[in-house]
């Protein structure tokens, strides 16, 4: 029961000043990056990073392992694509449609999944997202195996031409930072504290009088909405939406990103997403099936590297020194 709570995590906050400096460096790097790297790749990383952080809001801070997050990510990609391409919506409205759709899906799947606990709830998310996959396979608007292709990126707010890679990049970056800010706010709000107490000991949270189901569902919907934001962005970046994004393999991939980066760390999933996306690109051209590579990484990670990159950093001597001030609170 509270086993789900014993997830290796580190929610310590480093020294505020240092945090600000690192944040500044990070943002600066992201602003400068498109001048040095291929923007499409960077945008892909940002979309998956946001997706993984959204997923981690649920796993790392609430203790619910969803194996169905592809439904929100890929579902939103379809909704956004349809709204933009068929209804002629502007990109920002299209993404809003995607986020709304993902939230609704999150509400339904979350409502059912939290009726059971632990691994059962994981299996339920997986089964329901598979059901959504079959829905997408058959529903006419998704165009089955072909997917929705040639999605126009359009003009943001009517005047920013997103066909320009750099404009698109900064749009994605802004949305990513906004999403991260939301997650950061949630984690550090009283609401986030309650979520964490549910993760640590659900029964205690219940006995303290919190309506745990409502909090879990709230976290689920929020996570789904942010995953939807990531999915909508991805649809615009690549200008297509396909079944790949709603498949269970995608749900597994986001778990891997989060695990690699560090479950329950704010920025860990960003690094995990960058690594997995990079590996995916690298192995896409090789003979080896990507699943073989990700599968092996998964097993190794679970056996010897459970805290993930950022989690290990926090647990290391350096990380402990950096976050020492935090032990006071």
């Amino acid at each position: 029961m509270n086993s789900q709570a014993r997830i290796a995590s580190s929610t310590r906050r480093p020294l505020l000043r240092l945090e600000t400096i690192l944040l500044g460096i990070g943002v600066l790097a992201l602003v400068l990056a498109p001048f040095y790297f291929y923007p499409i790749f960077l945008m892909k990383v940002l979309c998956f990073a946001l997706f993984a952080c959204a997923f981690n809001l649920l796993l790392g801070y609430t203790g619910i392992l969803s194996f169905g997050h592809a439904a929100f990510f890929g579902g939103s990609a379809y909704f956004t694509a349809h709204a933009v391409k068929e209804w002629g919506f502007s990109p920002e409205l299209g993404i809003l449609v995607g986020v709304a759709g993902a939230s609704l899906l999150g509400l339904v799947i979350g409502f059912l999944a939290i009726r059971r606990q632990g691994i059962y709830s994981t299996m339920i998310t997986l089964a329901l997202s598979q059901m959504f996959f079959f829905f997408c396979l058959q529903a006419p608007f998704t165009h089955g195996e072909d997917g929705i292709q040639n999605i126009p990126r359009g003009h943001l707010f009517g005047f920013i031409d997103l066909e320009q890679p750099l404009y698109m990049y900064f749009f994605v970056l802004t949305a990513f930072l906004a999403g991260m800010f939301v997650i950061w706010r949630v984690i550090h709000s009283p609401y986030g504290m309650i979520l964490r107490s549910i993760r640590e000991n659900e029964n205690r949270a219940i006995s303290l009088g919190y309506s745990v189901a409502r909090y879990k569902l709230g976290a689920f919907v929020m996570s789904a909405a942010l995953a939807g934001l990531a999915g909508g962005l991805k649809a615009l970046v690549f200008q297509f939406a396909t079944l790949t994004d709603v498949s269970w393999q995608m749900s597994g991939e986001v778990v891997l990103m989060t695990l690699l980066g560090g479950i329950g760390t704010l920025v860990g999933p960003v690094f995990g997403a960058a690594l997995v996306t990079g590996l995916g690109n690298y192995f896409a051209t090789s003979e080896l099936p990507v699943t073989l590579v990700t599968g092996i990484i998964f097993m190794i990670c679970v056996l010897v590297f459970r805290r993930g990159m950022i989690g290990e950093l926090y647990a290391s001597r350096l990380g402990r020194r950096l976050s020492r001030r935090d032990d006071e609170d």
């Binding site: 392992l65 009726r115 691994i119 059962y120 994981t122 597994g252 073989l292 599968g295 998964f298 056996l303």
Partner: protein, 295 residues
């Protein structure tokens, strides 16, 4: 022509049989999952992959060394069981003291690895496995044609399910397993090597999956992906039945397989999702599952 609810009887019975066949596999797989879950408290995500490896083992035994169907029916599950037991010893057993999350993720990684490896060596397309000649042909029942092999699969799965149930409920070994499920520490103080029992259980559960895969080989194409889609449906079966009881897992497996077959007759568009819909309904009206004992 005779019809049932405007559906030709032959089509109806044909789909019923397909449902029964699928149900046989659901039952065998959810049984294995339930056995493993009972003892090890983990969801074996690799169950579908082990099913696939069982089918491939049979295929390779035939193509590689010319081992026929009947010896392969013993050898293939044995290979899968032993390999899985080794994995339990080497890796999985290190994760028991941690959050169940990690063993789930490990078996998920194992599933991906197995799938990827078989794809690398055999490609994604299916390989045919011929029906053994003793089981070729079929019976003309007058109202329908019943292929012998399909009848054999239904019969074999029933025997396997009943035998597993008897093993667990009626034997000394089964008593050890049941007791260890409840209180492994105390069973150890009695002088029973529980870690070894865990290894055995995981091996046996995986061997059951391998046996199911071997049985499935002549029906479905032998392909690296044959297990992964199946296992998600089986997860839904398990949520519906509840993993508290072995019998529950078996009965739910058959029931949902037949129901799925019937859906193919009356509303084919929904046949892919009917089990998931049932799962959702069960969660709404009876969250613990039909026969669930879990909290």
């Amino acid at each position: 022509m005779t019809t049932i609810f405007d559906v030709p009887v032959q089509a109806f019975l044909g789909q019923l049989l397909i449902g029964l066949i699928n149900g046989s596999f659901y039952a065998m797989l959810s049984l294995g999952l339930a056995i493993i879950f009972g003892m090890l408290k983990i969801i074996n995500f690799a169950h579908g992959a082990q099913f696939m490896v069982g089918a491939f083992a049979g295929y390779l035994l035939l193509k590689g060394i010319g081992v026929g169907y009947w010896p392969a029916l013993i050898l293939a599950p044995l290979v899968v069981g032993l390999a899985s037991a080794a994995i339990e010893r080497i890796a999985l057993s290190r994760l028991y003291n941690l959050d169940h999350l990690y063993s789930l993720l490990f078996t998920f990684g194992l599933a991906l690895t197995l799938e990827g490896a078989f794809r690398y060596f055999f490609g994604a397309s299916g390989q045919p496995y011929a029906v053994p000649k003793e089981l070729a042909g079929g019976y003309n029942l007058g109202f329908m044609f019943l292929p012998k092999y399909r009848a054999w699969v239904v019969l074999a799965s029933l025997v396997i399910c009943i035998a597993s149930w008897l093993l667990i409920e009626k034997t000394k070994l089964g008593a050890y397993l049941r007791a260890s499920t409840e209180n492994p520490t105390l069973v150890r103080t009695f002088g029973i090597n529980v870690p070894l029992l865990l290894t055995f259980t995981y091996g046996m559960g995986a061997a059951l999956a391998g046996l199911a895969g071997m049985l499935a080989a002549p029906i479905y194409q032998v392909s690296p992906l044959m297990g992964s889609n199946l296992i998600i449906v089986v997860f839904a079966v398990v949520v519906v039945g509840g993993m508290g009881s072995i019998l529950g897992a078996i009965i739910t497996g058959y029931m949902l397989g037949i129901l799925e077959g019937l859906t193919k007759v009356f509303y084919p568009e929904a046949s892919n999702i009917v089990i998931f819909v049932i799962m959702a309904i069960i969660l709404l009206v009876r969250p613990a599952g039909l026969m669930g004992r879990d909290a």
